[in-house]
Amino acid sequence: MTKSNKALHGAIALAGISALALTACTGPSGGGGTATEGAGGAITYGTTDKVVTLDPAGSYDGGSFMVMNQIYPFLLNYAPGTADATPDIAESASFTSPTEYTVKLKPDLKFANGNTLDSSDVVFSFNRVKNIDDPNGPASLLSNMEKIEATDPNTVVFTLVAGNDQVFPGVLASNPGPIVDEEVFPADKVLDDDAIVAAKPFAGQYTIDSYKKNELVSFKPNPDYQGLLGKAANDGATLKHYADPNNLKLDVQQGNIDVAGRILTATDVADLESDSNVKVHKGPGGELRYMVFNFDTMPFGTKTPDADPSKALAVRQAIAHLVDRDVIASQVFKNTYTPVYSYVPKEFEGATEPLKSLYGDGSGKPSLDKAKKVLADAGVTSVVDLKLQYTDRYGTSAADEYALVKEQLEKSGLFTVDLKSTEWTTYTKERRADAYPVYQLGWFPDYSDADNYLTPFFIPGNFLGNHYENPAVTDIVKKQLVTTDKAERSELLGQAQEAVAKDLSTLPLLQGAQVMVAGTDVQGVEKTLDPSFKTRLGVMSK
């Protein structure tokens, strides 16, 4: 061998050995990862939820709101473990008259970029959400807000359309509630994520240190935060986005992340329950999985060539008669989700089960005869062609869930179902553009009250935008909102659910609990799995 060849071979061998050594140094991803990741008390949270936008005016979804909860301040918020909205960056907040809600801010508040946070920013933030009224934004939650005014640098007064709004404090702690910097955000349009991160308009428990959309977000505790949540229990947090829930599961199992949040599949959760390296934490329920009917474009909808409202109603009722929730819950979700026959989950005061008695065999099981009859009575004589859409947003099980719905409907011989799936960020825009005649959605509540399952869905200008409008329903929903007597309000909530069940604007299928899976060395997870339904990174540590 020549000298140069020897050198070349030596170099190749050295490179090979080095590569192997480097790989070996890393060792099993199981053990080593956790120790290094956890150095300094930072925690890593993984999720398959996606961020639509960091701008509070442009999103109304769990993935975006989760990040907003860490970085933006709220006037009111929930202390961990509670479901009562109490002042966050506010010093006080209360009704000063039935239609006036006055909030006084704590003094000397500021954003991470050094800008002052005062009443002017608060007024700007709420007006902005309402004025932009983005189709994917939370403006519908502010339907009872007539106006907002700053009476001094630290005080704002909300004037409400209907007095004694029982859930207004909850609304302030929910999706339209993040307070943003008026010197950063434009008043009339949604701001791009990268521009938001660069301008640092954060005044919540954390600031964003680095941001790769739907990949990796690094949070740093905000030393200037003076709110209800206090100092974060960790030195920082990282949010890691996954595309595949299987990878999320394996990474939490092997200690590469500390906590896995939404959304693991039911089989993954069941599997992880028997793994001694992790702990499965469960919180109160509240999640609904349901179908939405677009009243314009569904079969016989008002904008279809053969529009006929009574036939359209019969189609909705036939579907309600045919779906077998028990089979979906057991086969697809291994009973980690349970059948729901109500618009309001049973944990909430005022919940009823009108769908059980109105549809199917009366006990929750399907009824083919009733489905046939309702269609025949309405004059629907041919097989109904149904275009049904679902999304990856609610976990990979959605594919199996809707395959089963398709099977159940087609087995009846009454429907042919064209089933398609769309990625969430596109889905959320297209559904509001009336692109899906019948489609899947899920609901994670904004605040802990039965109203959060009614007002956002069934009053004009609602979040669904499915063109459903029933003045009688609207009246009841609005009335319960301002009824202070608990028994009377409960009665009204029941009436509202009964009326909606007859119209079938949506069809609830299943209800689920909050689930997080964490390494056994992680503390505080249960503090965020509370009835406020907010994911707070600041309560977790190790």
Binding site: T2, G16, A19, L22, T23, C25, T26, G27, P28, S29, G30, G33, T36, E37, A39, T44, D192, D209, S210, K212, K213, E215, L216, S218, T238, K240, Y242, A243, D244, N247, L250, D251, Q254, N256, I257, D296, T297, K303, T304, K387, Q389, D392, D418, S421, T422, E423, T425, T426, E430, A433, D434, A435, Y436, P437
Partner: protein
């Protein structure tokens, strides 16, 4: 020109005849011609991508047909300009490309160029790693197979080669992941690095986006080890696809070369079989590898889509799959065009390398 085809490069032992000098145009002219050929190649590829993506009609009808009311559908088609003659749209698209404007993605309103540069580096890293695996596995094993021709190791290696290029890359990926990540726990499950390494590397001044390079530049050996560990399975899954082809190619070429007169002459002069294979037969056998390598880049980029999806390697392939699901036509077109340009450029580079190594290709 039989003698030229038979002629291997010269060597120190003096058993090989010297290569003739080029009798035709010089290297400069060759490079110029090859360079100029890139433009029609890219033009044809871009044109094909454009028209193939419109073969089923405009993207809005393809996505929304039957779901949106007819008037809304038409409104959206008009707003996007898809109601204009296809040739008008095509020339407008070419005009935009000429100015480097790939448009903005429909789903997240990002500049396509920015998206391509962000995720292109990840795909480049994976492709380099995979190519290394293909070379490191394919070439030595091809030589072993040739050296032990028609014996047991040869048979085993030939079956191995067939398995390599016949196994779908996503299946190989899943098998590797199950074995080395899930069961044995030796290697990471997915991603390009642990979150701590990723944060360290992305926070560098002017990062290249190629993690091992950034880790080396910053002297962060822990991150480098982590990045290498994360790279192993995706690189092997993708690299084996090409390794099988390289193995077969090297084997065939080495066997062919071993039968040539100059090797026989060496053999008769007492040069050992091992030396004949490792010193004299492998060099000419490698020349076709260079050419095939260019073609394999296209195969590899295709495989990268599935590999990246399997291992959540957030590169162009991963994004392409996401944008396809989201029916983001602009983003998909941008990625496909970039991949086409990469293939054309790679072939150009490979042609140049082949010409430098073997002057015969210039004739």
């Amino acid at each position: 020109m039989t003698t030229l085809i038979d002629a291997p490069p010269s060597d120190a032992d003096g058993i090989l005849p010297a290569t003739r000098k080029s009798a035709g145009g010089g290297l400069g002219q060759y490079i110029l011609v090859r360079f100029l050929l890139i433009f029609p190649t890219i033009f044809i590829l871009v044109t094909m991508v454009f028209f193939l993506m419109r073969i089923t009609g405009d993207p809005i009808t393809a996505a929304m047909g039957g779901r949106l009311p007819a008037d809304q559908l038409q409104e959206r088609i008009q707003a996007a300009g898809y109601d204009r003659p296809i040739l008008v749209q095509y020339f407008e698209y070419l005009g935009q490309l000429a100015t480097g404007n790939f448009g903005r993605t429909l789903t997240d309103n990002r500049a396509v160029v920015e998206m391509l540069t962000t995720y292109g580096s990840a795909t480049l890293e994976l492709s380099i790693n995979a190519l290394l695996v293909a070379l490191v596995v394919g070439i030595p094993l091809g030589m072993v197979a040739a050296h032990r021709r028609d014996k047991a190791p040869d048979a085993v290696l030939r079956v191995f080669a067939i398995l390599c290029y016949a196994t779908p890359v996503f299946f190989a990926g899943m098998l590797l992941k199950l074995t080395f990540s899930v069961w044995l726990g030796w290697l990471p499950v997915a991603g390009r690095a642990k979150t701590s390494s990723e944060l360290a590397l992305t926070s560098l001044q002017a990062p290249t986006g190629i993690y091992w390079l950034d880790a080396l530049r910053s002297g962060n050996m822990a991150a480098l080890a982590d990045v290498v560990a994360h790279s192993v399975l995706p690189a092997v899954a993708l690299g084996l696809l090409t390794a099988g082809i390289f193995l077969r190619l090297v084997r065939t070429n080495v066997i062919g070369t071993l039968g040539r007169d100059y090797v026989e002459a060496g053999r008769s002069r007492g040069v050992s079989e091992y030396r004949l294979v490792t010193k004299h037969a492998y060099k000419p056998a490698l020349i076709p590898i260079i050419t095939v390598m260019g073609l394999q880049i296209a195969v590899m980029l295709g495989g990268a889509v599935l590999t990246e999806k399997t291992f959540e390697w957030k590169g162009l392939g991963f994004q392409l799959a996401n944008y396809l699901t989201a029916r983001d036509f602009v983003a998909v077109q941008g990625i496909v065009v970039l991949l086409a340009i990469i293939v054309a450029m790679t072939n150009f580079i490979v042609d140049i390398i082949a010409a430098l190594i073997d002057p015969r290709v210039r004739y």
